[in-house]
Subunit: 318 residues, 4 copies
Amino acid sequence: MYTLGIDIGGTKIAGAICDDDNKIISQWREPTPEDPEDINAVIVEMYRKSVELYGAVPRMGISAAGNVKEDRRTVTFSANIAQWIDYPLAERIEELTDHECKVIVENDANCAGWGEYILGTGRGSKNMVMLTVGTGLGGAIVINGQLYRGSFGMAAELGHLPMVSDGDFCGCGLRGCAERYTSGNALEHFAKSAVRRMPQKSKRLMELCDGDVNNLEGKMVSQAAQEGDELGLYAFGKIGEWLGRTMAAIAAVLDPDLFVIGGGVVSVGDILLEPARYNYVRFLQAAAYREHAKVLAATAGGDAGMIGAADLARIEED
Amino acid sequence: MYTLGIDIGGTKIAGAICDDDNKIISQWREPTPEDPEDINAVIVEMYRKSVELYGAVPRMGISAAGNVKEDRRTVTFSANIAQWIDYPLAERIEELTDHECKVIVENDANCAGWGEYILGTGRGSKNMVMLTVGTGLGGAIVINGQLYRGSFGMAAELGHLPMVSDGDFCGCGLRGCAERYTSGNALEHFAKSAVRRMPQKSKRLMELCDGDVNNLEGKMVSQAAQEGDELGLYAFGKIGEWLGRTMAAIAAVLDPDLFVIGGGVVSVGDILLEPARYNYVRFLQAAAYREHAKVLAATAGGDAGMIGAADLARIEED
Amino acid sequence: MYTLGIDIGGTKIAGAICDDDNKIISQWREPTPEDPEDINAVIVEMYRKSVELYGAVPRMGISAAGNVKEDRRTVTFSANIAQWIDYPLAERIEELTDHECKVIVENDANCAGWGEYILGTGRGSKNMVMLTVGTGLGGAIVINGQLYRGSFGMAAELGHLPMVSDGDFCGCGLRGCAERYTSGNALEHFAKSAVRRMPQKSKRLMELCDGDVNNLEGKMVSQAAQEGDELGLYAFGKIGEWLGRTMAAIAAVLDPDLFVIGGGVVSVGDILLEPARYNYVRFLQAAAYREHAKVLAATAGGDAGMIGAADLARIEED
Amino acid sequence: MYTLGIDIGGTKIAGAICDDDNKIISQWREPTPEDPEDINAVIVEMYRKSVELYGAVPRMGISAAGNVKEDRRTVTFSANIAQWIDYPLAERIEELTDHECKVIVENDANCAGWGEYILGTGRGSKNMVMLTVGTGLGGAIVINGQLYRGSFGMAAELGHLPMVSDGDFCGCGLRGCAERYTSGNALEHFAKSAVRRMPQKSKRLMELCDGDVNNLEGKMVSQAAQEGDELGLYAFGKIGEWLGRTMAAIAAVLDPDLFVIGGGVVSVGDILLEPARYNYVRFLQAAAYREHAKVLAATAGGDAGMIGAADLARIEED
């Protein structure tokens, strides 16, 4: 069976036809329009092309940045697309494709986590947790070979684990959420703080941001850290520490055998993973008396979410 | 099939023969000896009586306060019984019963949680979390009808969720663990703090502890609160607040449909549960955009752990 | 003796001739230029007018938003005027006025505090602390009738008292500073958080910000709170709580008899002061065994800083 | 003029006759009785001996562990001597010495701080803060050559600066007080935590406490650290970190030029002072733009409190 996987990102919509072995046979990429109906049109066009090339495409999985109801049909809220409030995305696409394709929608971090489980670092793990360190911090949980979605579709919102009582204000309205301390945004925060406090040590970072610390972005911090810059390494040390602390908190609930770390920020590799592993053990309850989960980088690549979405659609029970 | 359930507590060992409907047919109770071999002897004696009364008793489940390996045979560490370090409890009992009984060992909070799932408040829930508010704070997780034990048997150590960065020192060696803020110990802490700060409002509590705040115990706080004492209610308000915050943290991972609150401290009912429910919603991420788990008191009673242990033994796969 | 007081604000420069009784005889107001030399020119022009009207004006006090060295002559750093790095402001003005006027420079919060001490709520207090709740949180300390400046001119940076370990990121590069939790900025933060979490209760605030919570400003929160809006009152309750906690921390060091609360945010009066007083006592060490400082609103008005600067210049020893 | 200095400690009462140069001429030492009247008798006996030896002794200063009113005559509360509740100690001693000696009472940390200012490390400083790291954390402040006592005698309770929101429970009824993180008690806490978490690294500490971590005491941690033990050094690193953070908080209020560190725990020298200095700068607001206070060990010795009390009595205005 050929299945269509769609990944609706902030800037582009990617689509791919996958075979039963999760291999991509064909793929397309289009800019993300602003209007939801235009987004639908892009998706439907990808579906038409798929049918043209491969005949029947009975299932489609859509990865969307937002909260998705437990029935996998409705987006309740999306930070990217404001009009998606209780939006029946699956139903709309099914209508537009004349009910010839069964559509499921899943949260993007969940799709990426599932992709990692079937194709990447997660293969063979018993209980896996994926943390996606991008602008924010996304999460996915795979338990006994199944994506764990919770009772209402809201499981694995790991970026909003409360880590600090009365901590940093989060866009969600709470304080001290994990993603305020370990994410691309947090990397910027820690780097700016360091430059402001230790201007004499900030030469490389100041060059990269043309002398104005307010312009400092995460990718500059990554570059500086990879060049060995002291403050860049400091900033990664801090988000690594909090990544470790967040994993230790998750382990108190789930005791997984594997943490997979994905997202753009992990491209620096051990610069992030070393402090994360060290602090994971440092803050793990009963660390001396238990086996420890592995902490590994994601390997399934940037298409993992799209492929994961397709696979979730394929295995969905009728 | 008749199954024997054993609950090894700090002061007594309870045992019960249960039928296939989780009904207790016979039960015994003995003081807990200090020496592990003497504990084994008490268990074996209960087994002998069971066989005498009901013929073959092919399975036994033991509820133990401690960390149990994922194979359900070995206690790695117990706060109550110091000699239980990597102790092969299941094997010892199987030897002493001539390998005629298959034995499993499970953590006591897990057994109580399972008992609540099969007999009590948890029946019919999809994803249930139990929090046992006793001296400390125990946890159990049931996912899709199965006790969730993690990859290494250490899941659901919910009392050690980190809630406060640099918070109260915990006996586990970390700081800010949930059980430092919501447990019988925490109740005492909050009550003592209140009496020390507001001596003019502490009349009833001071009476109950004979005028010396250092003698204040949790049960006095429960009594005072039930009589309407202001500081007693304050102390329950605080552990209730933190119970709510802890549940909100757990929901960020598991998104369950039900929290069951058990343990001796919950005997005060809504005095604890009302602030817990209120603060659960107050600290729940995206509370306005999601369905909320129910928060209910446990109803399966004090034998739930023993019955739960027996049932876990019965359903264990060969 | 006539003395000139100057207040260099972010948008305007105010100047006033004061007599020996701290009465304003004449005053001027000009927009604040961007260039430091142009700022100097405005000040010198006000000095010329003063001399023209009143003959000799032998002393001038300048209130400046920034850190000032202990010799009261040099601004080491200013958030408003970037070119003021180790800037010898007093010397420049003395040169431009032909050394006929002795100039002192003082931090603006200190000038406002001194004005409050000589003219306003602070009169007669023994040890007074002023907290200026504006965009940020400024501080001033008067001990035994003298402005307390510390050994290096950096005393009373009360907005940067660390209140929360690993707390909200502050522009100073630290985390958890008091001004992140009690200030006009914090008011906005708390209000936005509340609207995001409780959209169904946010009607009035949403009207005031034209439906986009990102546009929400402190003055809208003040208006809503004064109209009785629930979320507006909540936000003031939170900054009031933290104002109280900050005062309790200060009392552990200074044990003053008076806190004066100034700044634009205090215009709402008891909406801010009531929660501040309540939480001051709630978090005050040994509250039941000590006398408590009064917590009162500032009364000296918007010219207090300018008059305070003039008075500090008058009483400065040669 | 000869002046009598008395230091009422938990186990001994020390007394000394001091001359105008703060030299001890004679001294005595007695066990501390339990009953307040017996304490008074010991003091009066020391006074009688003084008069016998040196003729008139018109003034006496008493150092007492407790809160003392601003009139220096009444102890409002003492953790050591339960009957001292609003106890008029100065009046009682004056009565018992036939009103021939003027008596003042002062808090023990204040006396030690004053002793350090007149005789020890503090000499010549402009604004000095002393932190006494004993079982708890005491404080004293000297501003412009005068002991700063606040408006109600409660200044410099620096051990109760709130450092962690929702932090460790303090005996004062608050949470997160500085002395919960930097004191002899805190040293024990950090060491026990480390041993519990890292038993494989705890060889030396386990020897010193005879294999039972519950017996671990501060002096064992000092010994182990001085022998180079890893966990002992870790525990000092932690209380040193928090000592630094506490000093940074104090600097936000007082901007002193000198911190003097006294108390039994500082006997390890740089093992405590190095992490304290490092973290002082790390957490100091605007550290790159200001002068830093010195952080030095106390040098006036164990009699500093007694001599300080005598000197405060001598210089007290009539």
